[in-house]
């Protein structure tokens, strides 16, 4: 009995370590490779070169900006919609959930060709201008981030009794703007933060749509170009993007844990 238990434990450790190796070995190899830019010694030369490249910062800033606008526009669009559906149109939830999943089904390449086709001719000439193209990029990213945005917000709304809170606020004399700003938004803080980071992570690394709409201006196409042309820098970029993604994930954990720990267990 005891031996079986120990054997089981051994096996679970074995599989866990195997799993870790599967994920970590390529990463470790990439990292080590990125340190070999200088012959025969380990150095951060590749990283230095990446950080010294003005295009790195330019594209990074551009994608960051687009990401932030996407988050803002996406939240403005999704939060009231998801709230209203939970409050008044619960039957529509099935449909909106399905629609929010469509970006997973429709490939980005199809989406971007569709966008260019529709918005490059009459009556919309969006692709002809700088602002128009950027607006189109943001719109496309909202669609792409829709599954994360909608899911996160809807889960956040499910955690609070939307209807009772709204009605309580109404009976106390509050109108819609007050209800949204003082009751709903503060209680969706964690959900909105997760939605925001997931969206940002998606936008920062996105390649297909960006390369067709704005080309090398965005971070995704820039990374791809570096990857094609520069051996060591591409590895260092891969590591940098990994670190960035992990940092975003870490932030989500940090913010959501802050809330969860505040509530003592069993307090209702």
């Amino acid at each position: 009995m005891k031996r079986n238990l120990r054997l089981g434990l051994l096996w679970s450790w074995f599989w866990m370590i195997l799993g870790w190796l599967y994920f970590l070995l390529p990463l470790l190899a990439t990292f080590l490779f990125s340190l070999r830019a200088k012959k025969d010694t380990l150095s951060f030369l590749a990283y230095e070169r990446v950080f010294k490249d003005p295009n790195f910062w330019k594209t990074f800033a551009f994608s960051l900006e687009i990401g932030l606008i996407t988050i803002l526009a996406g939240l403005v669009l999704i939060v009231p919609t998801a709230y209203w559906i939970r409050l008044r149109l619960p039957r529509l939830r099935m449909i909106t959930e399905f629609v929010s999943m469509l970006p997973f089904v429709v490939p980005a390449i199809v989406l971007v060709f569709g966008l260019i086709r529709v918005f490059s001719g009459a009556p919309f000439y969006l692709t002809n201008t700088y602002m128009g193209t950027n607006a189109l990029l943001v719109a496309a990213y909202i669609v792409l981030a829709l599954p994360y945005l909608y899911r996160a917000i809807d889960t956040g709304l499910a955690a609070i009794d939307v209807r009772a809170l709204t009605e309580a606020a109404q009976s106390l004399g509050a109108g819609w703007p007050v209800i949204l700003l003082r009751i709903i938004l503060p209680n969706l803080r964690v959900a909105m933060i997760s939605a925001a980071f997931l969206t940002l992570a998606t936008v920062m690394g996105e390649f297909t749509i960006a390369s067709f709409l704005v080309g090398i201006k965005a971070f995704g196409p820039y990374m791809s170009l570096v990857g094609q042309n520069k051996t060591y820098e591409s590895s260092s970029l891969a590591i940098i993007s990994f670190v960035l993604t992990w940092a975003f994930m870490g932030f989500i954990q940090l913010f959501s844990r802050g809330r969860a720990e505040a509530a003592p267990p069993g307090a209702h």
């Binding site: 609070i160 009794d161 009772a164 809170l165 009605e167 309580a168 606020a169 109404q170 009976s171 106390l172 004399g173 509050a174 109108g175 007050v178 003082r182 009751i183 503060p186 209680n187 803080r189 505040a262 509530a263 003592p264 307090a267 209702h268």
Partner: protein, 351 residues
């Protein structure tokens, strides 16, 4: 004119008629309960008074003013929910202050009012706590305070005690009544718990399938139920099949034994199926001259603490419940024993 008037109020959700022709007049300071099983339309009626639902027909007047279609935030009606509905992002004091801030009340005055209602619910030291740091009972008291802070014209409570455990429920019930009487606030209380309705209310509105079955004081509702539904929903009731022998002398037969009953209006008798109604607590064991007597065999004995419920078999398929107060020296009869039961003539009536 009454303080609150609901006249011919109906509400339909698609094909379903949730409330049918509801008529009620409530006087200022009255405590009214809507009592009925789930789905009887009591909560829908309350929500129409609050403004969360709009009637398909009829009119609601508050202090003579037509509020039928006025949005809820313009009615000045306080509401307490079953789920407390405290704002989780705000402290107790901020929750209570919310309605006052919306009204743009002066800061100093808000502070004063918050303190005032906190002491009313005896939670003076809890102003800085968040809802999740309170027990269910405390949360509901805060919800009550929050609703009262805005000095509403009307206080609505939607099954406020259902989510709490038995002991807290009893405590809070008394507290609600105390506060209501202290403030003299007109209150409507929705519940499916007959004990709550009986102990709290000035008047009870018993509802079934969207309609009012009976309106009356707790005493009237319990002792003079006007329909079989009210009689069986409020308290325990024996309904025994009878054969009416002589209507002029008020004599009928139950399981082959003669019984005299309280004079009944003929309309009930014309309805066809007639039964003898009697509450279990009116029946005693033993023989008393001049009272109705029934003989039967004990089928089961159920111990309920303060009372002992006996089920007595009078005939084939005819069982009667008898409630006896528990006393320490009382030796309850055993199943199979043949016993005689007695009850006064005025205790039973035809239904």
């Amino acid at each position: 004119m009454a303080f609150l008037v609901l006249s011919h109020v109906s509400k339909a959700f698609g094909q379903t008629q949730a409330v049918k022709d509801f008529n009620l007049e409530v006087e200022k300071g009255e405590f009214i309960s809507f009592l009925g099983p789930s789905g009887c339309g009591k909560t829908t009626t309350l929500r129409m008074i609050a403004g969360f639902e709009q009637p398909t027909e009829g009119q609601i007047l508050l202090e003579g003013e037509d509020i039928t279609f006025r949005p809820p935030h313009q009615r000045n009606v306080g509401m307490v929910f079953q789920s407390y509905a405290l704002f989780p992002n705000m402290t107790v004091a901020q929750n209570i202050a919310f309605g006052l801030e919306v009204r743009k009340m002066d800061r100093a005055k808000i502070k004063e009012r918050v303190h005032e209602v906190l002491s009313l619910i005896q939670l003076e030291d809890y102003g800085g706590r968040y809802p999740y740091q309170l027990s269910g009972g405390q949360q509901q008291r805060v919800a009550l305070a929050r609703a009262l802070a805005i000095r509403p014209r009307l206080l609505l409570l939607d099954e406020p005690l259902s989510a709490l455990d038995a002991k807290i429920r009893l405590e809070l019930r008394q507290e609600i009544r105390r506060i209501q009487q202290a403030l003299g606030i007109t209150t409507i209380y929705v519940t499916h718990d007959q004990e709550e309705a009986l102990s709290l209310s000035d008047r009870i509105v018993v509802m079934n399938q969207g309609q009012i079955e009976q309106i009356g004081t707790p005493f009237e509702i319990y002792n003079y139920p006007q329909s079989e539904f009210v009689a069986s929903f409020v308290g325990q009731l024996n309904l025994l099949p009878v054969e009416v022998l002589d209507l002029s002398k008020n004599i009928c037969r139950v399981a082959g034994q003669e019984i005299r009953f309280t004079p009944t209006t003929n309309s009930i008798l014309k309805s066809g199926k007639v039964r003898l109604a009697i509450r279990p607590e009116e029946i005693r064991l033993g023989m008393v001259e001049g009272e109705n007597l029934l003989r039967g065999e004990i089928a089961s004995v159920i111990f309920l603490g303060s009372i002992i419920r006996l089920r007595v078999k009078l005939g084939e398929g005819i069982l009667i419940s008898v409630d006896q107060f528990n006393e320490r020296h009382f030796q309850p009869p055993r199943p199979g024993e043949v016993v005689t039961l007695h009850f006064p003539i005025h205790a039973c009536w035809l239904l």
